[in-house]
Symmetry: C2
């Protein structure tokens, strides 16, 4: 499955020694063609890691023949040396694989502000290249984990073609994009412009609507590579839907594995005047620490939902707002609604529905609760 | 001290039975003149509590003769009945004290979405009126506490005149305003327009720059009442400075008592192109949960500062950013700076200095760390 579910791709995941605990930390994904089409979206953080700056340049050409990914270090805020290290990583992969370095994307994840141990990373590229395999997708997905407790893969199958992918991400998840590394592959015969359209449409309604902790990374990278190996060119809509489905699946897995989380929270904003209003309100609710604590405590504290809605510029009247928690409309017309004791919050998934009563548009944002475990995981050691 | 430090004011604080634990929950502050000048600033949340809607109307007249404050219930999201209850509270105080209800401000704090027990609150107003005292400021300050562990008062003395005040607030602290109830009093002989100017100038650089948890309340109220009892009209600048000093002192006390906090964090943004840029960057840093966890863990994780700066629209170049933690410039020119092991974070106050290297403007934002205690306090029971 993973990035080798589609024909035309090989992958590997190894332990290069970048992580001090000896866990896998280097992944390699290679597109064996015949096509080398690619598209990518990157963090909108203005402080971008060296591999993001590099890969943005690579993607401008619309061709990617290989991707080198490492965990154990983000190579962000590392200055000219950091960029040189990314360049050297691409050059190394190009030399070993007989490719053009300008078609090798690089992605890194881990602690910001540390130079990568290139004496381990570069030999690791060589080792990974020697282990490239048509079934290597699973190992590649494992090698990009940081604080992830599980590796994340997904696949969608069309008529004779496949879209597969892997993702990592567990903290610093917020729109623009959610913080993550994602590589999607397909054997559909699609050019880079079509890939770009499908990928942007998909990320806008999936990864961009995952908001674990409101923190935006310096390293977000989502790549979509097409080998064309199936020889099939799918209908635009069918291909777009497959890419969206894989992104949606991976996005849900990111939330499900968010640092310290005990609840997955789906925020459905309905009755909005515009989709942008719905997204703004959903994000405001998703980032409300007090609400996230209340949901952790299985307390249907709808007042915190209203106070979050009130900070937005969306169209609504305060005395027409309605809020349901797990289907119980605890707030009606901006005031007390159904009995809050009717709300059952025992299960992991919690659905908050905010009805702005201002139109027919809607959006869904995913987040999770705020827990003592999140605090522990992000205070007890550097990450 | 507190609201009775200035001449011309009496106050009381009693237990009316609004709080189920029997703690003090009702405060009354009366301006005995000869002036009744007043100014107020209120939450910018669009979901406003009934007492905010009421008091905004009262303040339009520029005269306030009394303020009734209660803890134990916010009277927010309570519909027409909630507004009627606030109105009845003002009417009750007016009847008991022989005042005009249109000059009685009301402020409430506590859980959102519950109607106040008026059968306890109205008799409480009568009890409090009977206990009004020139030394009642301390008791009033105690009666407005919610999750506050200490009551908060401050005073500044001019030449023959005084500004005093009380505040409550421990969570849901964020700009626009910080979530709080504050009553300031002065015996200076100042009209309502001058009070309004001094108050807005002061809150803009004090309460508006306190950001505990990024959550904005429905009930924020800051009132400044002048009795004129000193007979002295201070110079505009001296009066403004006294009001600012009292607001600054109270704002610091709010942060010092923030829910679950173990560190007070001062964020100095310097080298900004504009003050607005400095404030935007400071707030973005103050709201970064990952950084707040790191500081809790005494980890000088400057990468999280840079990733927060990167989400803003302020003028800066990523490779020119500098960050100091407790005076050690751990990030220089967007990369690794001085040795992070030199940073001593044992003490309660932590100073994060972010130099945008883009101009000469600056701003300071106060926040606190994110702790398991904050999660516990906001998940274990409704607040």
């Amino acid at each position: 499955m993973s990035v080798t579910a589609a024909q035309g791709f090989t992958a590997a995941g190894i332990a290069a020694g970048i992580k001090s605990n000896g866990n896998p930390d280097l992944a390699l994904v290679v597109n064996n063609g015949p096509r080398l089409a690619a598209a990518g979206v990157f963090t909108s953080n203005r402080v971008k890691a060296a591999p993001v700056l590099w890969s943005e340049q690579v993607l401008k050409g619309g061709q990617v023949s290989a991707v080198v990914l490492n965990s154990g270090g983000a190579n962000a805020c590392t200055g000219p040396q950091g960029f040189q290290d990314t360049h050297a990583t691409a050059e190394k992969a190009a030399t070993v694989l007989g490719l053009n370095a300008g078609e090798v994307a690089v992605a890194s994840t881990g602690l910001i502000g540390l130079l990568l141990p290139m004496d381990k990373l570069l030999p690791g590229v060589e080792t990974a290249a020697a282990q490239l395999d048509e079934d290597g997708g699973e190992k590649a997905a494992i090698a990009i984990k940081t604080t992830d407790t599980v590796h994340k893969t997904a696949v969608a199958r069309g008529d004779g073609w496949t879209v597969g992918g892997m993702a990592k991400g567990a903290g610093m998840l917020a729109p623009g994009l959610a913080t993550m590394l994602v590589v999607l592959t397909t054997d559909a015969d699609v050019d880079s412009a079509a890939l770009d359209g499908a990928l942007r449409d998909a990320t806008r309604v999936t990864f961009d609507r995952v908001d674990s902790d409101g923190c935006m990374s310096t390293n977000d990278t989502v790549l979509l590579l097409a080998s064309g190996a199936s020889g099939v060119t799918p209908a635009t809509a069918a291909f777009a839907e497959a890419v969206r489905a894989v992104c949606d699946d991976l996005g849900r897995q990111l939330i499900g594995d968010a640092e310290g989380a005990s609840k997955d929270i789906r925020i459905d904003v309905v009755g909005a005047a515009t989709e942008a209003d719905a997204v703004e309100v959903g994000r405001s609710i998703a980032r409300n620490n007090l609400l996230k604590c209340a949901i952790h405590g299985e307390d249907p504290n709808w007042g915190r939902v209203l106070s979050a809605i009130g900070t937005t510029s969306a169209a609504f009247e305060p005395d027409q707002l309605n809020v349901a928690i797990n289907g119980v409309w605890v707030c009606k017309n901006g005031g007390v609604g159904e009995d809050r004791d009717l709300v059952d919050m025992r299960y992991r998934e919690v659905v908050v529905t905010a009805d702005l009563a201002a139109g027919g548009e809607s959006a869904t944002i995913w987040t999770n609760d705020l827990t003592a475990d999140y605090v522990h995981e992000n205070s007890a050691y550097s990450s």
